[in-house]
Structure formats: C-alpha cells, structure tokens
Amino acid sequence: MTYVFDYEWVFEYWPVLLKGIGITVELTLVGGVLGISLGVFCAWVRSLGPTWARPVVTAYVEMIRNTPFLIQLFFIFFGLPALGVRMTELQAANLAMVINLGAYSCEIVRAGIQATHAGQFEAGASLGMSRIQTFWYVVLVPALQRIWPALSSQVVIVMLGSAAVSQIAAEDLTFAANFIQSRTFRAFEAYFVSTLIYLALAITLRQLLRGLGWTLFPKRTVR
C-alpha cells in the first residue's frame, strides 16, 4: 500500500463540516421531539383511542417499519410533488425523520403502556381522575419512564440513519463529506473524519438522553 494519507484539507474545510454537523443536529432535534410526540399520540390511539382509528395507525406503523428509510425519503421528496405537495430538501428530510421515528416510537411506547396493569386505570378513576388525567399521570409517564432506554436508542438510530438525507441534497454532515471529497479527491479521509464525528455525536447524544431521562423522571416509580 503506497497511499499517503492527507488530512491537510481539514484546516481549510472545517466550516463546511461545522455547517453539516449543525444541520444533522438540527434534524435530529426536530425529528426527535416531533417524532416522539407523534409516537405517543399513535400509541394512545392504538391502545385507548377510537376503534376506527386503530387499523389506520397499525397500517402506518407496519408500512414504515417494513420499508427502508431511504425509500420513504425518496417517496416524500420525489413522489409527493406529483400530488402537488412541494417542499425543500430540509423539510422533506425532517418530515421523513418524524414519520419514521413516529412509527418506531409508537411501538416502543405501546409496549410500555401495555405493561401497565389494568387495575391502575380503576385506581385512577377511584381517585376521581378524568380519563385524560389517568392516561397522563398513571399510564403515560410511568410507561415513558419504563421504555426511556429503548426510546433513546431509537433516537440515536434515527440520527445515524439521517446520513441518508444527503441523497436528496439536504446539506447534512454526509453531504459535507461528499462535497469535500469532490473538491479534494481525499475520499477515504473525508469519510473517515465524518465517521469519527458521527461516533462522537452518537456517544454524546446517548449521554444527553440518559441525563434527560434522569431529569424527566427523577422519582423512580416503576419497578
């Protein structure tokens, strides 16, 4: 192997990398918050919502969980304009991530809700709580606490999956790596550096989510 590694370009192109990191973080943040919210709503529909809406949510969840993120992205960005729905690359990327995480977190949250004992509902009702109150305090919060580790891993998976949004020219970290390698012809080095950045992002995100879990659920009520 006679190849000489060259990382000189990092000094010239770090603003490009930084911008890419910013977009990846932004996509993860928006996708994470909205995706989990969508997931909680869908989990509510599937376990306690109106009966007619349940098959709709089930179909959505199964469809998303059994197709690749890349195809969901292409369908939203290239396919939907045929129906007159137009959006920018970033909007499409965000939408795809929200829809994707929504389906996965629906399944995760639902598992947490199912683990709640039926007697808990009756206990809530006997304390004079409304159905919504019972759902929020007695069912949802303990369920979220129970499944928080699984939910955290899913958010990390979605962050790593967001590398695919570079394919619709959303300017995330992978897009920055593609740009740099096209300018410097240092493909391996560009992807190697971005891989390390992704690894650092994943480890940081995991720690942040763990900390967030302790802040959100300070009292451990779930056994």
Binding site: T67, L70, A163
Partner: protein, 219 residues
C-alpha cells in the same frame, strides 16, 4: 420516446429485487458467522478479547451504515484494487450485521440464569461442555425471535448500498424513475416490494416470540 406501462415498471423492479434478496442472505449468513466469533470473544475469559469485541460493537453501532459503506468502498480502493460495488456492499453489511447480532445473542446467553452455570459446573462439565449442552440450547430458544426480527433491518440496510452504486431494488427504482418520470408510482412499488420482503419476517418474529413465550419462562 418509449412508453412504459405499469407492468414494465413492476417487472424491472421485481428483477432488481433478486439482488436485494441475494445481498440480504449473504450479509445475514456472513454476519452470523462473524457474530459467532465475536460472541465468543465478548463473553469469553480473555480481557483483551472482551475489550476488542466491545470496541468493535461500539464503532459499528455508533456510526451510520452509509459511512461504513463509503469507507469500505474507498478504503479497499486504497490497496490499489479496483473495488466492485458488490464487494464493498457485502463486506460492510456483513461487518455491520455482525455487530448487532453479537449484542442480541449476548443478551440471550446472559438471560440463562446463573444457576444453570453453577449446576452444570457442579456436574464436572468444562466451559465448552457447559456451552454445548446447557447454555446454548437454552439461549438459542430465546435468540430466535429477535434474530429473525433483526433480519428485517438487514433487508432494509441493503437499500443504502444503492448509494455506492450497487444495483439492487432502490438503485433500480432511481434508474426507472429517471427513465419514466413517474417517481410516485415507482417509489410506491419499490416500497411495496420491500414491504412484501420484510413484513413476513416481522410477523414471523412476533409469532415465534409468542410461541416460544420466552419472556416469562424463567419466572
């Protein structure tokens, strides 16, 4: 200009799906073999082996599969060989699959209660005998549903190989779109084919889980 009927689109996509299936099978089998070796290191007695397996898993689970594909594609190229896309795709997917399967299987081995290890060791069994006759047969029952479930991730993972130029279902979808200008239909059909491949796997994983009822067996 040629006109493309819907059947032309579907037929071409179905033909390309063969490569998705083939790559999935190769990745799954290769990944299982590597995962078996990693598992021995991960739960073995050597500290260096455990650290190696842990680091391997951390790296492959903590970076995007797309980046791993790029690195395999351009990294192999550094050795001066002209790397075909299928080779880089297969290599990256095998290594990626192995990381996840190792973690899944480790959980399964550790779910076998400590008493089983103690009981078998009190019968005078060595490590390999314990594994062969006591631990693995029990761990295997626990491992089947999540392993089948993970195979869905492998099939979906193959979609990313289109980006380094391997022509499978997703790449074919892009090519057919470029020829027909009907992205809605084409990507819709592509999604349906993926669904047809993945859904039976997801479903059988669920059914197996219920059938083996492993979650509550040790209580």
């Amino acid at each position: 200009m040629n006109d493309f009927t819907t059947w032309d689109i579907v037929r071409n996509l179905l033909l390309a799906a063969r490569w998705t299936i083939l790559l999935s099978i190769v990745s799954f089998i290769g990944g299982s073999a590597v995962a078996g070796l990693l598992l021995l290191l991960r739960i073995g007695k050597s500290k260096a082996g455990r650290v190696f397996a842990r680091t391997y898993i951390e790296i492959f689970q903590g970076t995007p599969l797309l980046m791993q594909l790029f690195l395999a594609f351009f990294g192999l190229g550094l050795f001066g060989v002209d790397v075909p896309a299928w080779l880089a795709a297969g290599l990256a997917l095998i290594l990626w699959t192995a990381a996840f399967l190792t973690e899944i299987w480790r959980g399964c081995v550790e779910s076998v209660t400590k008493g089983q290890w103690e009981a078998s060791s009190s019968l005078g069994m060595g490590y390999l005998q314990q594994m062969r006759y006591v631990i693995l047969p029990q761990a295997l029952r626990v491992a089947v549903p999540p392993t089948v479930g993970f195979s869905v991730q492998v099939v979906k993972g193959t979609a990313l190989t289109s980006i380094i130029g391997f022509v499978e279902l997703s790449k074919a979808g892009t090519m057919v779109t470029n020829a027909t200008f009907e992205p809605f239909t084409v990507y819709g059909v592509v999604a349906l084919i993926y669904f047809a491949l993945c859904w039976p796997l997801s479903k059988s994983s669920q059914i197996l889980e219920r059938k083996l009822n492993v979650a509550h067996r040790n209580h």
